[in-house]
């Protein structure tokens, strides 16, 4: 694993030996590469040639007071993150797009363009992604000097424009309010008959500005702030954030805390997977399946309550460990509840594997080919359903995952059915992990005291959330308040998969296809 990573850094170092590009190993992940607004493409080309599984994890835009930094966090197959740092001037910030090299970057670039005003020359999409249509043109919320009081809103464009020239096309708007979407986002589908010809996404309807809000709160407060980004994978957010801060602090977390965190993370995964497996049933009109799954999800929330005192948002993690220990007397109870769930699994597995009407709705629906999954930088079960075996828990083990045996589940067919079956099998793996962790729970303290003031520095971190790789970048300026917190949620990375697979499909397949990505717009709109 580490061999490939060192190789890549070596390749970079030899390739860019006598150029302006500087390679700094072991900074911000595996390495940091200092480039400028055009050489960054050369660096990316080298990385892409070295491994087909190279993908963009995130693009961070950051206001560096005199300039604007655009940091490309590139995920190399198994070797962690390589960050390409570029800077553009504050007046007229322009940088060449990388979306022609790797199409998945386009979506990330649009967000940076919206929030920091960087123009990505050559990005195929125009128009806004996150900000509302009537947002003023010259205010960029994530810049430090953005004046957000007394905003003068533009005149909003008048409603939806019908596609012109194409007489057979009907525009069907899915969202912001739609029964198939539990949260508000908009997808304008261009439909010919029952066939989808195009999709225009528009997100940001519940954008809460968490990244900006985190800058004005202390690190300790931020733990609870980022936890509220998502109701379902809340522990993943908290865990990813505290790990990033611990990396800057160089705090070593006691082993017991690592195990407890692992248990909580896997409970999150169980909760999320059972929820979405049931919700998929609802989307294809299989209400019975939905009711059954949600009933069996209840004990998972009860276990979370036994451990942390809270059913949903556990608020149990803190910098340096966890806030409460697992009571030894509760462990047999938890194990019994997990064993009961395990007994139900063969039934569900049979339904997802064999039920004819379910297969008719899910087989060959929204097929995402492996090459597309790689090019679009897809993460999590969606990528694994297309045969891409990425899983942060294995690729870059965090917490106790390095010590716990488990399998990475993949399927090759890449359709909705494959994605749901990946989740189905991961439920069992999660139960295994929790049981193993409970059996091998180390003794000792469950937290160490961490200082409130974080020394200047920066770090990136990844966590395998239920929906895929969750990415955090934190920059500290030596105070108790972070300088920048960047969150890239798995759903944000996976929306391009929907845009790709919906086209050419039946309009009736849109909900099933969409739910198979397990979309969480609360995550997407931080």
């Amino acid at each position: 694993m580490s061999n490939t990573a060192i190789d890549i850094v070596d390749i970079l170092q030899t390739k860019f030996k006598d150029t302006l590009v500087q390679v700094q190993p072991a900074q911000l992940g595996k390495a940091t590469v200092l480039a400028n607004s055009s050489t960054h493409r050369d660096v990316l080309k080298v990385l892409l040639e070295a491994d087909e599984r190279t993908a963009v994890s995130a693009i961070t835009g950051i206001d560096l007071i005199t300039t604007i930094g655009v940091f490309y966090h590139i995920r190399t197959a198994k070797g962690g993150i390589i960050t390409i740092k570029t800077e553009v001037p504050k007046e007229g910030p322009r940088i060449n797009t990388i979306s022609d090299l790797i199409p998945g970057a386009a979506f990330h670039e649009m967000e940076v363009a919206d929030l920091l005003g960087v123009v990505f020359v050559g990005n195929p999409s125009s128009g806004r992604l996150v900000l509302p249509d009537n947002w003023p043109d010259d205010v960029f919320p994530l810049r430090k000097d953005a004046k957000l009081d007394n905003l003068k809103m533009k005149d909003a464009p008048s409603g939806e424009t019908e596609p012109s020239g194409e007489t057979n096309t009907v525009k069907i708007i899915v969202g912001p309010q739609h029964p198939a979407l539990l949260e508000p986002e908009k997808f304008a589908l261009k439909v010919e008959g029952e066939i989808v010809k195009g999709v225009e996404p528009r997100i940001g309807y519940v954008h809460r500005g968490v990244e900006k809000a985190a800058e004005s709160r202390t690190y300790l407060q931020d733990v609870y702030l980022v936890e509220r980004i998502c109701g379902i994978c809340n522990t993943c957010h908290a865990s990813c954030f505290v790990e990033t801060v611990e990396k800057i602090l160089k705090t070593e977390v006691p082993p017991r805390a690592k195990y407890i965190r692992t248990i909580l993370l896997e409970l999150n995964r169980l909760h999320s997977h059972l929820l979405t497996l049931g919700h998929a049933g609802l989307e294809i009109g299989y209400e019975t399946l939905f009711q059954y799954f949600w009933r069996d999800r209840e004990p998972i929330m009860d276990i979370t309550e036994i451990i942390t005192g809270n059913r949903v948002i556990s608020s149990s993690l803190t910098v340096g460990g966890v806030r409460s220990d697992i009571n030894e007397t509760d462990i047999p109870k938890i194990k019994t509840m997990l064993a009961n769930l395990r007994k139900r699994l063969p039934f569900y597995k049979r339904i997802y594997a064999d039920e004819p009407s379910l297969k008719m709705r899910m087989r060959n629906v929204g097929t995402l080919k492996r090459a597309d999954a790689l090019a679009l930088c897809i993460v999590g079960p969606t990528a694994r359903g297309s045969g891409v075996d990425i899983d942060v828990r294995k690729d870059e083990p965090y917490e106790a995952y390095g010590e716990i045996p488990f399998k990475v589940i993949t399927r090759d067919s890449g359709d909705t059915w494959a994605r749901m079956n990946v989740r189905m099998d991961e439920v069992e793996e999660s139960i295994n992990i929790i049981e193993y962790a409970l059996d091998h729970l180390p003794t000792g303290p469950f937290r160490v005291r961490a200082p409130r003031v974080v020394p200047a520095g920066e770090a990136v971190n990844r966590v395998e959330a239920p929906r895929g790789e969750l990415f955090y970048y934190v920059k500290s300026n030596g105070t108790a308040y972070p300088e920048r917190v960047k969150v890239r949620t798995p759903t944000f990375a996976n929306i391009p998969a929907f845009l790709k697979t919906a086209i050419g499909g039946n309009i009736a397949d849109v909900p099933a296809n969409f739910v198979s990505l397990d979309p969480c717009f609360s995550c997407t709109d931080r």
Binding site: I172, A180, G285, Y286, E287, L289, S357, R361, N506, P511
Partner: protein, 330 residues
């Protein structure tokens, strides 16, 4: 027929309008309760004992709600089609022999099977119009789906209904019900199974409930409806389900005639009819809970490529057995 008190009691109270209305609501409750129990839920539990009054409560609640008509809607069509559709279905119901004869006295004539099926098609078409008139994209798509589905499934349904008609040697429903020396479910089980499946599609129930796919078309043709008109749309759907079940009872389960029979014949006829109908409702609801919803193209394919040839084959088999084998049994 004489327009006397007897006529009005039969048409308006029993076994006519009032009976059909409350029986429909009862069936709705049975459906909801069964579905809930199968899905590990409680189901209606508040209004009345075991929530038996819940359908009535829902109906009353909707009647008290504000009734909004969208400005863009085709006003008259939008307003009247739910009520006419409901009326047509209740009229069709009152032509069926419920307590031995139909609610409208002496309404039975030879060929009323065709007439009743035509009435149901008209009721469905009115439902389509109600969605179409609402000038809402979801309403229009939902309405078009209703049309696509019932136009397709009417054909196999009709063909399958002809099997019992042939066996009984009559095209009148009363004649078919009375002509079952053995219930036709025993003589032609293949036709019964196909009929129930086709009916599931006619009634837009899972796995064929695409006009009601809320994740795709929101409320379907009901999207723009609220208040009293929505109440009638819901009621229409419930009557449709009861009517479909009643058709199965008349064609395959021996109608209102049963093995136990003494005293007041009307009582026993009604009892058998109701019991048989509930069995059909339970079967239909069982299928609904068991399956996921198919896609519209799959539903249409299933109709033309599978159900139509199968129903023709079933009819041929029924006729063949009816001509050469069954006469030997009698």
């Amino acid at each position: 027929m004489a327009l006397d008190a007897f006529f009005f009691i039969r048409v308006l109270i029993f076994p006519g309008f009032t009976f059909i209305l409350f029986f429909t609501m009862f069936c709705d409750w049975v459906e909801r309760k069964i579905e809930a129990r199968m899905q590990n839920r409680v189901g209606p539990a508040v209004a009345g004992p075991h929530g038996i009054l819940q359908p009535l409560a829902d109906f009353m609640k909707l009647l008290t709600k504000e009734d909004i008509v969208p400005l863009d809607a085709k006003q008259i069509l939008f307003k009247v089609s739910p009520i006419i559709s409901f009326s047509v279905l209740v009229f069709a119901m009152s032509l069926l022999p419920i307590d031995g004869s139909s609610a409208i006295p002496d309404a039975s004539f030879s060929g009323d099977l065709i007439f009743i099926m035509a009435l149901v098609t008209i009721a469905n078409f009115l439902l389509f119009l109600s969605g179409w008139a609402s000038s809402n994209p979801y309403g229009s798509i939902g309405a078009t789906r209703v049309l696509t589905q019932f136009l397709g499934y009417d054909i196999p349904l009709m063909i399958l209904a002809l099997g019992p008609a042939f066996l009984a040697g009559s095209l009148s429903i009363a004649g078919i019900a009375a002509g079952q020396f053995l219930p036709f479910i025993v003589l032609a089980p293949w036709a019964f199974v196909l009929f129930v499946i086709t009916l599931q599609a006619e009634l837009e129930k899972d796995p064929f409930d695409i006009p009601h796919a809320d994740s795709e078309v929101v409320g379907g043709l009901e999207t723009e409806y609220c208040g009293g008109k929505l109440a009638f749309l819901h009621l229409t759907r419930d009557v449709q389900i009861v009517f479909g079940a009643a058709l199965v009872v008349e064609l395959f389960l021996g109608g209102p005639y049963g093995p136990v029979f003494f005293g007041v014949p009307e009582f026993w006829y009604t009892l058998w009819f109701v019991l048989k109908l509930l069995v059909v409702v339970v079967i239909s609801e069982y299928l609904t809970t068991l399956f996921a919803r198919l896609r519209i193209d799959q539903v249409v394919t299933a109709n033309w490529k599978i159900l139509l040839p199968l129903s023709l084959a079933a009819f041929a088999l029924t006729v063949a057995l009816g001509v050469w084998v069954y006469p030997m049994l009698v």
